[in-house]
């Protein structure tokens, strides 16, 4: 190394964006490949959709009628399940029959703390 390959900024940008798209595109293919070779995929697809939704349900989606008292009651009930309030993304009204589907969608974001 030692010497820059080029000092033309447009060329650097072009090559870099090519590499970034190339590598991330390749990773997309890799993810597809992982899914294809996944020996647990078949049953997972069925089992998880049945098991996971109810698991997150009591936390994320609770029917509420915009009533502070009710929210307080729910909060207490949830707390008794061992969830801290910071883990609860929102408490909202569930309309119609798509309850579980939405529940999964709102799933509490525990993804990475707010650190970096």
């Amino acid at each position: 190394m030692g010497q820059p390959i080029t000092t033309n900024p447009w060329l650097i940008a072009l090559i870099n964006m090519s590499v970034v798209f190339g590598v991330l595109g390749a990773l997309g293919l890799v993810i597809g490949a992982i899914r294809m070779i996944d020996p647990t995929q078949k049953k997972t697809a069925k089992v998880e959709s049945k098991v996971e939704a109810p698991a997150t349900a009591p936390v994320a989606a609770v029917a509420v009628q915009s009533n502070d008292d009710v929210i307080a009651v729910i909060a207490a009930a949830i707390a008794s399940y061992g969830y801290s309030f910071s883990q609860i993304a929102c408490i909202r009204r569930v309309s119609g029959g798509e309850g579980w589907a939405q529940a999964a969608r709102v799933e509490a974001v525990t993804v990475r703390n707010q650190m970096f």
């Binding site: 390959i5 650097i12 870099n16 590499v19 590598v23 390749a26 890799v30 993810i31 020996p39 990475r112």
Partner: protein
């Protein structure tokens, strides 16, 4: 009495007051302003508080931090030899759920598109007279990823480390102010209202193989970022394995906190008046803003392309999350999306490009190291 006065004068002449410069005073003011931003305004306080305090410490004369052995020299050694960023990434990996990305791998392309900000800033920096290495280090501010920015700055332009770190962390915390107007400007209401399909569940097998596979692909192609990507993915493996909770917990708590104190204080220690109070610093601050804005624009525009390509199934608002700044940028997508359509929940969809942006920035940094060093 004479002896007393003489000795007292000797103490005074050895004090820092005699060597104190106006530059030092200004830098202390800068440190105090950064403290106000961190503590008073809540801008990335975990990083900016010790950076600001380190900046103040760096501007006391005659402390010998750089020449005498001691804790500050150890910290500076860790800064100058990129020891801390990979350890931060170990903890970040243990905190990161790549599930949304695995469920929707097309979002990787949004994470790639948002890196355009990096190269807009790079081109701008070179036009403004920076060397190609400096321009690369400045550009990475647009990646919105603190540890990667510090890692690259130390390797390519250590003299600019302080300004780059401050710009990166400041703009990362300003994401909720910078992004929404841009997102409105480049999207129609109809696009913002798009409700996306629920993500498929991701199996444990996928979550376990993913970090190993990414490490292999990226490290083989770009050896200079192996330490960074390897540690990120090792931390993620600790998280997902289910049998190494002790190591995962320590990585994302005690270890990352200790290293954060050292990394941030040490970054502040590099902000001495003579290297920070330059015209270049102002340019870097401006270029950083350009980089963030350009990355957001590129992400949203690529989102629009995906909106069209998928026949309206992708909400272009998730594109802006590709700049990284995890998880703020994803939250901004969620908030803007929900304002357009109250039943719209983009958060999990935006986490895909958001974590893809971390990988994308590391790849960009690796490419620049391969080309420029």
């Amino acid at each position: 009495m004479d002896a007393f006065v003489v000795a007292l004068q000797a103490v005074w002449s050895d004090s820092g007051f005699t060597a104190f410069t106006m530059g030092n005073a200004i830098m202390m003011l800068v440190g105090i302003i950064l403290l106000y931003m961190a503590i008073g305004k809540g801008f990335e306080p975990l990083l900016l508080t010790p950076i600001a305090f380190g900046c103040i410490l760096a501007n006391f004369p005659k402390t010998g931090f750089e020449t005498d052995p001691g804790v500050m020299q150890v910290i500076l050694y860790g800064i100058h030899h990129e020891i801390f960023p990979p350890l931060i990434f170990l903890g970040v990996g243990a905190m990161t759920d790549f599930g949304p990305l695995i469920a929707n791998p097309k979002t990787l392309l949004l994470g790639a598109a948002a890196q355009a900000g990096v190269f807009v800033a790079l081109i701008g920096a070179m036009l403004l007279g920076f060397t190609v290495q400096e321009a690369g280090a400045i550009g990475i501010i647009g990646g919105a990823d603190g540890p990667t920015a510090i890692y690259l700055a130390v390797k390519l332009a250590p003299n600019l480390l302080g300004a780059i770190a401050v710009a990166a962390y400041s703009y990362m915390s300003l994401v909720p102010l910078i992004q929404p107007p841009i997102m409105h400007l480049f999207t129609t209401k109809k696009e913002r209202e798009v409700v996306m399909e629920q993500l498929r569940p991701v199996s444990k097998f996928e979550k376990l193989v993913f970090p190993v596979a990414v490490t292999i692909v990226v490290s083989l192609l770009l050896p200079p970022v192996t330490a960074l990507m390897g540690m990120l993915m090792l931390g993620n493996l600790f998280r997902e394995s289910g049998v190494t909770d002790r190591l995962s917990d320590t990585s994302q708590n005690a270890l990352i906190n200790i290293v954060t104190i050292f990394l941030a204080t040490g970054t502040g220690l590099t902000m001495k008046a003579e290297s920070f109070l330059t015209y270049q610093t102002i340019l870097i601050i401006c270029l950083g803003l350009v980089a963030f804005a350009a990355g957001t624009v590129a992400g949203v525009l690529f989102g629009k392309i995906m909106y069209i390509a998928t026949g309206g199934k992708v909400n272009p608002l998730i594109g802006s999350a590709g700049v990284s700044a995890v998880p703020m940028a994803a939250r901004v997508s969620q908030v803007v999306g929900q304002k357009a359509n109250p039943s719209n929940f983009l958060l999990m969809h935006a986490m895909g490009p958001n974590v893809a942006g971390v990988i994308g920035t590391a790849v960009a940094a690796g490419t620049m190291l391969a080309m420029l060093k």
